[in-house]
Symmetry: C2
Subunit: 425 residues, 2 copies
């Protein structure tokens, strides 16, 4: 796996017309779609910040095509962004597929010149964030995602395998600087400063935003997590594991969009998912209707946050017990029953550090979605600005507590117990 | 700076005869040495574990030539070792020279085919370890070395410059896997297990060694530092900064042999130097003579340990205050007097984490030099095995305390106060 140098001149953004012959030229994809290419139904459905996304339906099947644009879609060509992030997305899928194959889409083809991936069209899946806004429940979701982070991160860590392999992978993903730069700026710096890229629900949140930007304790905590994000190379992380990067059906869950992948802290992936569940919880009053006050649904979401952590924790510990073939905590140092007991306790202590990281990163993710550049539909779709601001105020208060009072949260039950009390009524 | 792929067939170990034409072909070196090449005095002086080292003296000047062997010199050709470590040594010198130019040798030439570096011949310098065994004092040493680690590490960290540059350097040094493998095995695993590569002063230390290898608390602590060594990519570190990697004169100090360089924790370099000063302290009774009981000298060594840390700490904080141009703790987040005060406190707290790391890594380094593969002349040169074992017992007791009772050591004064009490009389 090495990075192909491709002359920029061969790149062109695909459209509905050019996509048809591109796909027709791939025997496997052509067979999968079935029928004559002219009959394929193609539509562009991308609603993310960075890429073109097409759904292509043929007589026999369907595929999804994702192409990286050379700029940030949400900002336009004035914010250039190298399309080679598609290379890292594909490299991430290749690296984790042996461990989480059933929880990512099948990849049919990657084109290094067009920075374009042809993959399984997931149906009847929808983006989890949309499901959470609609108040839908996914009984397997928390278990699947906990399992996902545990497997993807454990097997790419020094706990599971010789460090040499991880160093090679780390060196490869060290090229993904443009996307790491986005995280560094948009998550760990901009929200805490005046920046032209920031926005918030104004005027209702003006006073609170000013207060947060003056909260030095909060900023020091956020900066510490920013430093940890850059320096703690525990595992290959997805890098953007929010509820918009998960597609769900009643029974299935798939993680998508790993273009931010790099070697970083496991808590960053945990925190992205956990934090977005909390954002969903705080947004629910904005989606209540006469028929559904969302009170029971909110409770369900909090339970999923707990179940996600417990699923991750249980699976990670089980994998560690079974596959400790790495250079970190080498098994040969801990022979005999006393060694095993000490190692068991050390593993529990390590899980506690991941838990603390999860909460800190979750809080950073929550804050950036309310004060920073990229917001979330959970709040954005609440038309009433005052109601939206009320929801956002609760989420900000909880994030602030997580960052400035970390010792109050020793177990996930502490978070679940605290959330309902930290909300604007 | 990229890694040159060189066909192995062009490599040959140099000797006194082949070195002469090799140097004569380099105009700069030829001029520096002066006179006819046939008159140059060449001798091989390497006493390390890994390399050939030649001193070449001409009519006008002298150079030192270091060539990597394709195996571990101390073990012989049965333990192969890629000679490209010379590439990383040269890359490290290039990376830190702008910041610590006066504290490393001048590099005249690097030959990527022979994995060979021609550098300044340091005279009247000697290896610091030899000076410490001889009981000599170096008034500038502690200040120089503290300054060295502060400057080399600060300027290659995310505190000083944009993370992109550090990620590129990290990716480059991620290739230095063979030498990182040595550290991982010989420092963080072997000493705590039965291994054919281990040895210790036997039989006097047999019981203590068995006890240490059964001390699960000690082993968990060592394993945590082993994990931190692999995952905490704070800065470009020298990777082997013991007292054999420093050359000293009365007024000058130079750091050599950075072939273990990679992105890792700053505390690893701090701990290597600090731990080797403690090893020297514990070895002094073995070098006492009727004329010099080494009591005052021991006190001087402990003072140097303190001065080293204080020099590092003061310089690192001063650099951080002046050159905070990096992505970690970005300056723009901490405007105004309150922001500056909070940032100041956060910096002090960060220094405390480096201090704790220094002590933990120092302890790991001390243990491996007594229980592991590579020992130090400080102890090895004590002919009386019982006296040597007494010295080593004290050092092991101190290392164990540092690893298992870290909270007893909040400041360097705590260490200095504890050392004399943790010694076999």
């Amino acid at each position: 796996m090495s990075r192909a140098a491709v002359p920029a001149s061969t790149y062109r953004p695909l459209d509905v017309e050019s996509l048809r012959p591109f796909l027709a030229a791939q025997a496997k994809v052509r067979e999968l779609l079935g029928g004559r290419p002219a009959t394929w139904r193609i539509r562009e459905v991308g609603d993310g910040n960075l890429n073109l996304v097409f759904i292509v339906e043929g007589a026999d099947g369907a595929v999804c095509v994702k192409q990286a644009l050379p700029y940030v879609r949400a900002a336009g060509p004035s914010w250039p962004m190298p399309p080679d992030r598609a290379f890292y997305e594909n490299a991430y899928y290749l690296a984790v597929a042996p461990h989480v194959g059933g929880l990512i889409p099948a990849i049919y083809h990657y084109d290094p010149e067009l920075y374009c991936t042809v993959m399984e069209r997931l149906a009847p899946h929808i983006i989890l964030r949309h499901g959470l806004i609609a108040g839908r429940r996914y009984p397997q979701l928390a278990r699947h995602l906990g399992e996902y982070v545990a497997r993807a991160c454990f097997f790419t860590s020094d706990l599971a395998r010789a460090f040499e392999r991880n160093m090679e992978t780390m060196a490869l993903f060290a090229g993904n600087k443009a996307l790491v730069r986005i995280t560094v700026d948009l998550i760990f710096a901009d929200p805490y400063c005046e920046s032209a890229r920031n926005r918030h629900t104004s005027p209702p949140l003006d006073a609170l935003v000013a207060q947060l930007r003056a909260d030095t304790q909060l900023k020091v905590a956020a900066a510490r997590f920013g430093q940890k994000f850059l320096n703690d190379t525990q595992a290959l992380v997805h890098g953007d594991l929010h509820s918009g990067s998960v597609m769900v059906s009643e029974t299935d869950s798939r993680v998508i969009d790993p273009e931010f992948a790099f070697y970083g802290p496991i808590g960053f992936d945990l925190g992205a998912f956990f934090g977005n569940l909390l954002l969903s919880w705080y947004s629910q009053p904005g989606h209540a209707t006469a028929a559904d006050d969302r009170v029971a649904y909110r409770q369900w979401i909090l339970e999923q946050a707990g179940a996600f952590w417990e699923s991750f924790r249980g699976r990670f510990l089980a994998l560690w017990a079974e596959h400790a073939e790495g250079d970190a905590f080498p098994r040969r140092m801990f022979g005999g029953p006393e060694g095993a007991a000490a190692l068991g306790a050390a593993r529990e202590a390590f899980m506690d550090t991941l838990f603390a990281d999860m909460l800190g990163f979750a809080a950073c993710k929550m804050i950036r979605r309310i004060l920073g550049f990229a917001h979330v539909l959970d709040f954005e779709s609440i038309a009433d600005a005052n109601l939206r601001a009320q929801c956002e105020t609760g989420a900000l208060a909880m994030a602030r507590l997580l960052l400035t009072r970390p010792l109050q949260f020793r177990a996930v039950a502490d978070v679940i117990a605290a959330v309902p009390g930290v909300a604007v009524r």
